[in-house]
Symmetry: C2
């Protein structure tokens, strides 16, 4: 057999193939700090399951609130999120916020808010442009409020957030992080050509939740 | 030398090391459709260069506007962006928007807007949580408006957008895409511990622009 400079001479080629495969798998899963997705991307025509998938798989998004100290301008901020404990997500986004950051301060004065998530951040859009309608995006509009920290919902949300964001329990106690919740009132989602998908909050919240909200 | 099951027996180990390196580089650059960054991450203490780097390297962000049909609630939307032609970026974000999408319709009624970008999307935060202050985030607040399509600035912005987003020129002509610009009035950036970095618009716009705005 002819050899060229790209061939590797070894007594046991299988080891090399295995090593490269392991490198690809490990590197592919951990590259840039991202994990592999836990659920298959639903068909874009299934609006509710698709929306639940996008929210469930996403670890972060942008929370927009009204900035009273900027003349009532809209103010977007990067936040981590969780929609429930592993395999028990309900589609309702929870956040762990401190009033050292403006978003929670704004929300406490004016609850109106939106959470925006791009599928591009998941890495499933390939080479498609982030603004291309087939690279999905969702905006959940509603009211952002702090949960009573002694409530059962806050305890569940904390468990969900800490499971998805293992760093959170180590964040400084004196920063006063609290659990916030977005009560969804309106959904805007584009995940294919043809404009926003018709999708009610009711349809979203009750969509195949047992199958599509694990992470 | 002792051997164990993790060692590879080969007549020329250097080739394997090279192969693995090539695999890492190629796979790391192309995984999930992202490109390698063109500029080195500036030191977080250099607020202005850091902010310019983050905006310049980012291909997308969230534009928040006021939704008049949602009672004046803030509405975040995923958009592609460019801050200038390759190696000639000026730090001013331009967008290619259609009024088929609500964001530009909202902006035409109320110019107040913010653009929010997360470093997490660049892949340079590693395993750090997206909400960790060392994983940078920036919010540029200002006025979002449509450029006169026959102006020189619109022509330059279109060239910049099309260079960064090669898909854009192929988007449907009948969708009426137009160039929009965010006139920055206020900057909020966290890129390390210790709260938002003091950074004026003036400092941002005149920061080492020749070195840090290529992509």
């Amino acid at each position: 057999m002819m050899e060229n400079k790209f061939m590797i001479r070894t007594r046991n080629g299988k080891y090399i193939v295995r090593l490269v495969c392991i490198v690809l798998i490990v590197f592919g899963g951990s590259v840039r700090g991202r994990k592999l997705l836990s659920q298959t991307r639903p068909d874009p025509s299934s609006a509710a399951p698709f929306a639940r998938w996008l929210v469930s798989e996403s670890s972060w998004g942008i929370l927009s609130t009204i900035a009273d100290d900027l003349g009532g301008a809209p103010f977007g901020n990067v936040v981590s999120l969780s929609d429930g404990k592993p395999n028990e997500g309900k589609g309702i986004p929870y956040f762990y916020l401190t009033t050292l950051d403006p978003t929670s301060r704004y929300a406490l004065k004016d609850h109106r808010s939106s959470l925006t998530i791009s599928e591009y951040a998941l890495g499933t859009c390939g080479k498609i442009d982030p603004e291309n309608p087939t690279c999905a995006k969702i905006t959940l509009n509603g009211k952002l409020s702090e949960l009573d920290e002694k409530s059962e919902e806050a305890a569940t949300a904390r468990t969900a957030l800490f499971a998805k964001h293992p760093e959170m329990p180590t964040w400084p106690k004196d920063h006063g992080f609290q659990v916030f919740k977005l009560d969804i009132e309106d959904i805007f989602m584009i995940n294919y050509y043809g404009g926003p998908k018709p999708l009610t909050v009711e349809q979203y919240l009750h969509s195949e939740k047992d199958q599509l909200t694990s992470y």
